[in-house]
């Protein structure tokens, strides 16, 4: 790369919010036609750096140069105009407009001052075809799956003259085929000389697609490395700044557990569309890992056995009595708690403090007349924050300002405060960094050791395999098998999860 001028260069960049230093004197560069990964734990300053490049945050000090010229973006609009486009994990498109309208929005082709809808649709069809996407451009975006919406967001980003494309966790809602598809597109954009910033917590994917890696920690630069020269273990170490926390393998008292009766057992549980005829038993002290591709009914299963969705068919027994679980209030009263995969929309109340978020469900269960005194609330929250290692320890902060891993812990604390018997965790480690991930995994193991029945859902098979005592394998809305995790390895699980006609990668 020597001799080639960087396409984008950030030098000595700092971003401060009042007394908080989010980014501290960081230098960062991207060359044309490279895929560059930005790695770091949550709170390392990744999002801040991205926002500084895409014009959402202004630099407090330092300079940004694009194509050798110093630039200053005061809005995302200005960054767009200069050829820097970003696709975020939480899809920022408009569900009420059509696919074509979303792709063209803000730069629709016009004739005589009026939008030329036909040309717009043709252009969208072309862009989608380039991406290998079979989607009706006239269909309403909100009707498509998250994965398709994500690809449409990328289609939008590349439909203009893009120089720098930022992909922030683009693969977290994609299944393996779709990831392969995305990578094909990324490689093609690379050919066209686009610089791509690829942010993902899937190390696997980072090593597959990226040329170089920049590591951040606590808002400061750790270093820039060629992917081929950086061992994984070293990368993780640089991100964490310490030896990677080990997942403490917990003792599995398999025989003892086998004798235990199921606390919750579901038979023939069906919701539409979602899960069909599912049978599952949750015993105390046992973790059931749920493995399946996107759309295999992972979330539907979780929602069906926690009273979130109303059952079309089937029965759920709790301690041997057939119970109706919906609405979730009733399930919670029976000790069945569910934590959603959508942290932002179905979990955390970002504007409320950490204290409020933790004590919310408990207060709701007690009712209006048995108010938890503020001092007691703080005490409760502090003890949970302490037990789960929620950082920072300032409990009055709005929960939305915490990093993803800590937000997840706040959600966990809220449910644990209710002293549940069953805990169903849907993608608790999605979009959080390696360190926090391991912490959550350890936490799950501890909870099970303390007698909770846990259902652990994750898109990452390795994780499911490590955490689960039993693995429920889902395919196309059905539980195809439930196996003990001992004796299963990654490849075997992959083959089980993948469709039979799909070669196990």
């Amino acid at each position: 790369m020597d001799g080639v001028r960087p396409l984008l260069e950030l030098s000595g960049a700092s971003v401060r919010f009042g007394p908080i230093v989010a980014l501290d004197n960081v230098s960062f560069r991207m060359y044309p036609g490279e895929v560059h990964s930005l790695m770091g734990e949550n709170g390392a300053g990744k999002s801040t750096l991205i926002k500084a490049i895409t014009g959402a945050h202004e630099l407090t000090t330092g300079t940004l140069t694009l194509d050798g010229k110093t630039v200053h973006f005061d809005s995302p609009r200005a960054a767009h105009a200069a050829g820097i486009n970003a696709v975020y994990q939480e899809i920022d498109l408009l569900p009420n407009l059509s696919v074509a309208e979303n792709i063209a929005l803000g730069r629709e082709p016009r004739r005589y001052g009026m939008i030329d809808n036909r040309q717009m649709r043709e252009h969208a069809t072309e862009v989608l075809r380039d991406l290998g996407l079979d989607v009706d451009p006239a269909s309403i975006l909100g009707r498509h799956s998250l994965a398709v919406q994500q690809l449409v967001a990328i289609a939008r980003a590349i439909s203009t003259d893009v120089k720098v494309l930022v992909l922030d966790e683009p693969t977290s809602s994609l299944d393996m085929d779709e990831v392969a598809e995305l990578f094909r597109v990324i490689r093609e954009l690379k050919q066209r000389g686009v610089a791509i910033l690829f942010v993902s917590h899937f190390l696997e994917q980072v090593y597959e697609i990226c040329d170089r890696i920049t590591v951040l920690r606590d808002g400061a630069l750790v270093g820039e490395y060629l992917t081929t020269e950086l061992l994984r273990i070293d990368l993780v170490q640089k991100m964490l700044g310490r030896d990677p926390a080990e997942f403490t393998s917990r003792r599995r008292a398999a025989i003892e557990q086998a004798a235990k009766p199921a606390f919750l057992s579901a038979r023939g549980v069906t919701t539409f569309p979602g899960i069909a005829e599912a049978d599952i038993d949750l015993a105390e002290g046992e973790v059931i890992g749920v493995a399946g591709l996107l759309g295999s009914g992972r979330t539907a299963l979780a929602r069906a056995i926690t009273g979130v969705d109303v059952l079309e068919q089937g029965v759920v027994k709790v301690e041997d009595r057939a119970r109706r679980l919906d609405p979730p209030r009733r399930a919670l009263a029976l000790g069945v708690a569910y934590s959603s995969e959508n942290r932002r929309t179905e979990g955390l109340l970002g504007d409320l403090s950490v204290i409020d978020n933790i004590t919310l469900a408990l207060q709701a269960q007690r009712g209006v007349w048995r108010r938890i005194r503020p001092a007691r609330q703080r005490e409760l929250a502090a003890s949970w924050a302490d037990a789960l290692g929620i950082r920072p320890s300032d409990l009055d902060r709005p929960a939305g300002t915490l990093s993803g891993g800590n937000q997840q812990k706040v959600m966990l604390a809220r449910l644990l405060a209710l002293a549940p018997r069953v805990l169903v965790l849907d993608e608790p480690t999605r979009g959080i960094d390696v360190g926090a991930k391991v912490e959550i995994q350890n936490l799950v193991a501890d909870l099970a050791d303390n007698g909770l029945a846990v259902v652990f859902i994750s898109a990452e098979l390795e994780e499911v395999l490590r955490v689960g005592d039993q693995i429920a394998i889902l395919r196309d809305g059905e539980i195809v098998d439930i196996l003990p995790s001992e004796g299963l390895n990654f490849d075997a699980l992959l083959a089980l999860v993948a469709r039979p006609d799909m070669p196990a990668a």
């Binding site: 959402a56 809005s75 995302p76 609009r77 767009h80 105009a81 975020y88 920022d92 498109l93 408009l94 569900p95 009420n96 407009l97 059509s98 309208e101 929005l105 803000g106 629709e108 016009r110 001052g113 009026m114 939008i115 809808n117 009706d136 006239a138 269909s139 309403i140 909100g142 009707r143 498509h144 799956s145 998250l146 939008r156 569309p273």
Partner: protein, 340 residues
Amino acid sequence: MTTVQTTTADRVASVTSFLRTFTSRYASVLPTLAAVGVLLLLLMGAQSRFGNFVSPGNMSALLLDNAYLMILAVGMTFVIVTAGIDLSVGSVMAFTGILGASMLSTGVPVYIAVPIMLGGGATIGLLLGVLVQYFNVQPFIATLAGLFLARGLAYVVSLSSIRVEEPSLLWLQATRFRLGDWYITPTGIIAIVVVATGALVMHFTRFGRTVYAIGGSEQSARLMGLNVARTKVMVYVISGFCGRLAGLVLTAYSGAGYPRNGIGTELDVIAVVVIGGTLLTGGRGYVLGSMVGVFVFGTIKSVISFMGAEQSWTHIIVGALLLVFIVVQRAIVARSDRPR
């Protein structure tokens, strides 16, 4: 035998695939189509009951009697599609009317009075838009303040009705262009032009797209680099201007300015916009749908006067219709928003 079965199966398959394509593309048109259905039922029912209801004269009158409502509905559609609301339009309409009538009666020439009537409304709209956008005031509160302000100003101008003698203003209503038994007045033409312009702007300009985008997700619209702030202010300016224009039309229609005009009209307007298929939560709706809503409202009103019943029945029926429509819309939206 087998061939028959295959073709039937084929036909079923092609129909279901057509339906799937249709709903994936046009689910948001369904409420408006429902409104068209209701309008046709009303007209057919009235025709069979009275025999002479769907006559050219009566249909022409339907447009003219509701011209002001139609103009207001266009402005309101813009506001509601951005998930806002404008409660000030009824008062703005009354203020414009009484201000114009009073100016004309004191001898202000018409070529000065009319621009003042029209220009002022945009100013109130601008004020409300700035309040909503830059001071983060809830549209409900900001425009409620606008409602009181404009109504108060109307009373300041005059407490009683002022007749308009100005011939050029009365010409707007008195002239009838005829085609057989059909006729239209300049006020009717103004209403149609406003509807057509509104529909064009909404569907064929970037501004219109931005209006829909804001209703879908304001945050996303901003991140996509759309000019959210300007657009949000503009929709209130448009609605304010429509309020003013409706005031002018109503003054011509009634031949007088009256400070108590249009009390509760803002709610009628919201009702017809919702009946026409626009969602109060924003992001979906059509200007032409609102026009259908106005016709539904106007037809109910005229059916009731044909029956010689008390006019308060209009609101009872509109209220019931509104309830049904909101439920229907919820059902359609809930179904169509569910990702596959």
